[in-house]
Symmetry: C2
Subunit: 506 residues, 2 copies
């Protein structure tokens, strides 16, 4: 009983969820800055770049920027940029680009009105209701990856959900990449800490997708988050990632880490100006490495708690900064990245209302990429198996919210309205029967049981139900197929690289 | 260290919260319908009113409408309306009006870009973490009212948070009104079930505010929710409330109860058309009773769960219907009412993400009144003491979200940015010291404790912390003053009316 404009049908499975789908945000963004205010913030960013500049700790990047026309002070490692140079380089950045996946049905478009949800990346710990918060293992990382593959609403893997503490740190990234490329067929991010970690990811994706070396830069296969050391500094590993990614046609998501009051001014306007300056400085480097480098304007602006100095996430300030960053990114013609964040330490009401604040800011700010969209807890220190599910539900709800209301004769339903007696009901009308299977969003996690039924079933809250769902998804998980020759080539690469790293020839 | 445009300072108290404040939504609403789609929905509503009409069960309302020019079929009690009649009556409704409170600092403006948060109203049960879900008592109603008075972010009381099952139903409303008018000095809604319940509220508010009978209609003192029996019917008690309220210059919030798939068509466009038709029919009655009657376009459109027939609240559909209703209400030049809803049975992540969906739809749809803004649980069957607090936190966050970002030289903070070394921090700058006390939202409930500190403090989730907060607020509660003569007059009125009701002369 499908209908034009209707939602795609669900696949049969023990856990009912929406199908994998490309999301497009057709609603106008919320604009909380005036056009003059956007101008003033961008002008302030240029002023910072001209008068103060940014410190680049990596030497070759300073040479590249100097050759491109920036003013470099080698003693302080400060690089100053004329706005003409920045604007010239900025104009080279594509407003939209494709990110390929091992399964081409999972290819992503970054930019325009497209919206991509990426799982949580980078925490130190993992947690679930059964075993609590703990250091994670590679086996647990693999389980998390299986869930990211299984949850259709998640478009992209994040470059590792948490650290596998049972593996040696110097080769851990290789095990991660092999797991990404065999347990998922979605696009997976790189762990962009340094040149070799980035290069290994690019090479393994090249192998997995069967791309010839000379064709590598045609489409991006790999994206990595490039965090600045705010304020106004880029460290050596991140600079190496920029050079490696941009140089090979891969994508950089340039994200200053600006918590207002600590790594940036205590005011939002100042924080947005500094964030923009840092993005533009790194963007200029990326375009200098390779004209047309695929880059994203990343916003992570939030604030610290001024009583404790702790990060405050999922705040009203976070939401406002996301919307304002969208306005700035659109003015600069760059895709936008935002996030789904919370400071809560457990999967409770706080974790949900802070995630909601973040998501509404991100989505109505027309973020093209929502990083940490599912699974983030505890200000980003922990990846939670239950939060992955509560967030997936929220993401599905936002996806449904983004489906516009259809208004036509059938949807206006005047005949059905005339058919039902005053005070009657619509349960049995032909119109209801024709529409009910696809009319409304069917939740993944939420219950509409009445109190008594819910109580008889054990009074399970959302976190407890999420626990049941991720276990069911793991039980149902089906590994995507891979050409055995490619699998072998990947395994050989990992073995060879591990040997080289252990031998000190990394 | 206050500053221009800064937030008002907080009063000293054991629970830190924002001060009472009038809220104005300066952001443009989210518009998810095209102008043509709004036209089509309103045209469909007129078509329903012309061809099918609405059933008015109360006889005098049919006589009034017939005299005004509507077509009445006494056999079926159906009243049909020409669109010219509806438009003529609609033009009489004020787009904005004042609702007075016993404390004039708590007066409300309904309409324009003003935003009013009203507590939960109408549930059958109450609940808290200590005693669970249960039938409530008058003493518990009074505690809830004390909390509504104490929580500054709540502007209005709801006409009773839940039923006081230890009081006789026929006089219960009088005890409620006396409690409202002595425990709070905020505006309190009427329990608009029938003529006498409504009239008692108006008279007691008139006494409490010292308004002369002949001046009663100058400003509204009382508002009540008028629910239709969707589809397309208005029952006798609600009709009596409309006549009593409109006739005395008081306010009607006309709210169809349209759950798509049950009380309205299974489609959102049809549900919005029916909702609009029902509002316009009752609006026409109100304006016929008294030209210029103060009315609100109420939207409660959501959907049923098509698997169980249960109400589904805080859904993506709810959020879209709220935004669309805002567009329709603005076209009709009526203030808008929406709500904060959830189907969850406990104060968990679901209760928060569903409330968030509702609140973002309501607020970005430019609702002027958010009913059930705090305390609603279990599809409206229960008023929760802990949900009152989690919602108050969410409302405070939305209030902060609505404070626009200031962009000026001080806020752009270029001097502070220049002062801090690359990779340094802003904790000690003069700019930070000048701003930190008022720069960021300080939560009522949320924690930013790190995991270890939080764990040592008992690993309390948001619901457990909310339990502690409402008890502290009750301990700190201070009853607003009232003139003893007025208090006595109110008590006398209640005693006299109870006697009359018990004697059967109600």
């Amino acid at each position: 009983m499908s209908r034009p404009g209707g939602r795609p049908r669900r696949a049969a499975s023990a856990v009912r969820q929406l199908p994998f789908q490309s999301l497009v945000n057709r609603y106008a963004p919320i604009e909380i800055l005036s056009s003059d205010q956007v101008d003033a913030i961008i002008a302030a960013a240029f002023s910072i770049l001209e008068n103060q500049g940014m410190r680049f700790l990596e030497a070759s990047s300073r040479r590249l920027l100097q050759a491109a026309g920036a003013q470099v002070d080698e003693a302080t490692m400060q690089v100053r940029f004329d706005r003409a140079l920045v604007l010239e380089k900025l104009a080279l950045a594509p407003p939209e680009f494709r990110l390929r996946a091992r399964n081409s049905a999972h290819d992503l478009v970054i930019g325009g009105n497209n919206l991509v949800f990426c799982a949580v990346g980078g925490p130190a710990f993992c947690s679930d209701l059964d075993r609590g918060r703990r250091a994670g293992t590679h086996a647990e990382v693999c389980d998390f990856l299986r869930l990211v593959q299984s949850l259709n609403i998640i478009h992209q893997e994040s470059g590792g959900p948490f650290e596998a503490m049972d593996l040696p740190p110097e080769t851990r990234h290789l095990d991660l990449y092999l797991a990404q490329l065999t347990l998922l067929d979605k696009n997976c991010q790189a762990n962009g800490l340094g040149r070799m970690r980035t290069a290994d990811c690019i090479e393994m994706n090249r192998i997995a997708l069967g791309v010839k070396p000379e064709a590598l830069s045609q489409d991006a296969l790999v994206m990595a988050i490039v965090n600045t050391n705010s304020p106004m500094q880029l460290d050596i590993p991140m600079t190496e990632a920029v050079i490696e990614l941009a140089g090979n046609g891969q994508a950089c998501c340039i994200t200053p880490f600006t918590l207002a009051g600590s790594m940036s001014p205590v005011t939002l306007a100042g924080t947005l100006a500094q964030q923009t300056a840092e993005v533009l400085a790194v963007a200029t480097l990326a375009q200098t490495v390779r004209a047309g480098a695929r880059i994203i304007y990343g916003s992570f602006a939030s604030n610290v708690d001024m009583r404790s100095g702790a990060p405050a996430l999922g705040t009203p300030e976070y939401s406002k900064a996301a919307l304002a960053s969208g306005q700035i990114a659109r003015r600069l013609k760059l895709p936008l990245r935002s996030s789904n964040t919370t400071s809560s330490n457990c999967v409770d009401a706080q974790s949900a209302y802070e995630s909601s604040m973040s998501l509404w800011g991100a989505i109505m700010g027309h973020a093209n990429l929502v990083y940490h969209a599912a699974g983030w807890l505890e200000s980003g220190l922990t990846a939670s198996f239950e939060k992955l599910i509560t967030d997936a539900e929220m993401l599905q709800m936002m996806a449904e919210f983004l489906r516009p209301i259809a208004v036509n004769e059938d949807e206006l339903a005047l005949a059905a309205i005339a058919e039902v007696a005053p005070g009657g009901h619509h349960f049995g009308t032909a119109h209801t029967l024709a529409h009910y299977e696809t009319a409304f969003y069917e939740p993944l996690l939420s219950t509409r049981q009445n109190f008594e039924t819910w109580q008889e079933a054990g009074s399970q809250d959302a976190a407890q139900r999420a626990n049941r769902i991720w276990k069911q998804l793991l039980a149902d998980y089906q590994q995507p197929t891979i050409d055995p020759a490619i699998h072998e080539e990947l395994a050989d690469y990992v073995a060879r690289r591990k040997q080289a790293i252990v031998a000190g020839a990394a």
